[in-house]
């Protein structure tokens, strides 16, 4: 059976190549930081399963020290000039979209097809990770199309990948770090403490107050954790279930559904979310630009969520 580890090997090879080219880039004053950071990320993908939990922990700490305190230098690998790009876009036209589209199409078709393919009774591809594995396959196909069609020098794929990865920089590992923070929070009992805090200091004695506390709590906690998935178990066990469901008789499905969406409003407003950090880096925007564009929408939709939940959750 093909597991997600196959995609990890591909990622490991790409990050490994980025590390090697970083080491050879004498124009970047921080080149050894870049080399170590991407090299460790490659190691995580290639050998994370064999390092043990403590070993992986040390690897993460090293990456945080290098990326967060030492800093990643922004490299300038040789690429094409704007004029060359203009000329090339005229030459190739809309054929340039073909490889971009190959990735989602392969992901889509693969997800549908691989689920049905069985060899000797066992599924060919791990059904739990079939979309991610299909996407990785799409990347391989897209790379093959690019190499055959455009015939770039062999050093171009890792160099162009490095150009973009260096703009993302340390933010590349933030989503995984937030998942790790969530695991430590769970083990240390932060959820229970938040619930206790709310019960002690917030007078939640009307259905509306319960709904507002739950929704605003979801948004705020999501902003801190950078991720609604980490906030949801905490606020649902601490506020939603005891107050909205048990005390005031609300419907659990409606509460859960709208509660998660209230959390997503928090994601739109937090500098912790990769959804805001990655585009800020990739589009070369000043910090906070994406959040500023999203905050009015987030606040209006959050208000709407409170009203919707209040109107619906006690009625159905």
């Amino acid at each position: 059976m093909i597991r997600v580890e196959a995609a990890y090997v591909l990622a490991g090879l790409i990050f490994g190549a980025i590390a090697v080219f970083s080491a050879r880039d004498s124009g970047n004053p921080k080149r050894w930081n870049n080399t170590a950071f991407w090299g460790l990320f490659a190691l995580s993908f290639l050998a994370g399963g064999r390092l043990g939990n403590f070993g992986n922990g040390l690897l993460v700490l090293a990456m945080v020290l290098i990326g967060g305190l030492g800093g990643i230098g922004l490299s300038k690998p040789a690429t094409t000039t704007p004029e060359e790009r203009e000329a090339s876009s005229l030459r190739w036209g809309s054929k340039l979209f073909l490889p971009v589209l190959a990735i989602p199409i392969t992901a889509l078709v693969g997800t549908l097809v691989f689920k049905a393919v069985k060899i000797a009774g066992a599924p060919l591809v791990d059904p739990k990770q079939v979309t991610v594995i299909s996407m990785a396959l799409g990347v391989v196909i897209a790379l093959a199309i690019v190499m055959a069609m455009l015939r770039p020098p062999l050093s171009a794929p890792p160099q162009e990948a490095r150009r973009l990865m260096d703009t993302v920089g340390w933010a590349a590992i933030l989503p995984q770090l937030l998942a790790s923070l969530g695991a430590v929070f769970a083990l240390a009992g932060v959820g229970d403490a938040v619930g206790e805090l709310i019960h002690r200091f917030l007078p939640v004695d009307t259905p509306f107050a319960a709904v507002a506390t739950y929704c605003i709590g979801m948004a705020l906690f999501t902003m801190i954790m950078g991720n609604a998935f980490a906030a949801f178990p905490v606020l649902t066990a601490g506020v939603g279930v005891p107050l909205i469901v048990h005390r005031f008789g609300g419907d659990p499905a409606i509460m859960g559904s709208i509660g998660m969406l209230a959390g997503f409003c928090g994601t739109l407003m937090t500098p912790m979310a990769s959804h805001n950090i990655v585009p800020t880096a990739l589009l070369q925007l000043p910090g906070g630009a994406v959040i500023r564009a999203q905050t009015p929408t987030a606040l209006l939709v959050l208000t709407g969520n409170i009203l919707l939940m209040y109107l619906l959750v006690f009625r159905f």
């Binding site: 790409i14 971009v100 859960g256 559904s257 589009l283 925007l285």
Partner: protein, 230 residues
């Protein structure tokens, strides 16, 4: 209650503009120590969760392809293409993308969009192209505004579409958390109740995108060239 110190670390750390990956790591260590865990357990828990969540970072696999295509003028092509659409404006283009992103996410096709795959190579250049078509090359402030709204259309569409798809992670997480608390809810039921908010989010952000066209149509004080005789 001491374990809440970690939350304080996050809030203070971000407010003081420390690097987020350092803040998150410090918060984990403080939380663990305050919660009575020893350092080895904290580091091991941190490492295990990092390793288990590697699939999140597989989105970066697309960057070699995107980078190569940029080298050959992908973004320039996206700009040219939108230039041929006379009625295209930044707001209308992003509204169309918001709609497509939300509908495809609701059908479970979350991987069709995203910042590395779609926004950087296609959507943002197209939006800039539409503006260039109408009023000439935008100044820095306007370019940043257009790019930030391009990213926002992707986020809003994805967030408020994905919960309608019943087999998506968040619906299953909602179901699992409710179950841990002794409550039974069907995934279909959970996903259906995401629809009112989805419509609301589309209307709110859609109107804001169209209003963006209006504010772009006003003369730009910040980046306009100074009057020649002043």
């Amino acid at each position: 209650m001491l374990s809440l110190l970690g939350i304080l670390v996050v809030v203070v750390g971000l407010a003081a503009r420390f690097n987020p990956i350092v803040v998150v790591t410090a918060a984990a260590i403080v939380t663990g120590l305050a919660g009575g865990l020893d350092l080895v357990t904290i580091v091991s828990t941190f490492g295990k969760a990092f390793n288990d969540s590697r699939y999140i970072s597989l989105v970066f696999l697309v960057l070699p392809v995107i980078g190569l295509l940029e080298r050959y003028g992908l973004q320039a092509r996206a700009r040219t293409l939108i230039g041929q659409l006379r009625s295209a404006t930044v707001g209308r283009l992003l509204l169309a993308y918001l709609f497509i992103r939300q509908v495809t996410a609701a059908l479970g096709l979350l991987s069709l969009g995203g910042h590395p795959q779609m926004v950087r190579p296609l959507i943002a250049p197209m939006a800039e192209g539409a503006e260039e078509n109408l009023r000439g090359p935008p100044g820095d402030k306007r370019r940043q505004l257009i790019r930030a709204f391009s990213a926002s259309a992707d986020n809003v569409g994805a967030f408020f579409g994905e919960d309608i798809f019943i087999a998506f992670g968040s619906v299953l997480l909602i179901q699992a958390v409710l179950e841990q608390n002794g409550l039974i809810a069907a995934p279909l039921h959970i996903s259906l109740w995401a629809i009112p908010t989805a419509i609301l989010a589309f209307v709110v952000h859609g109107v804001r995108l169209l209003l963006l066209d209006r504010s772009l149509a006003r003369p730009d004080k910040t980046s306009a060239a100074p009057e020649p005789d002043q």
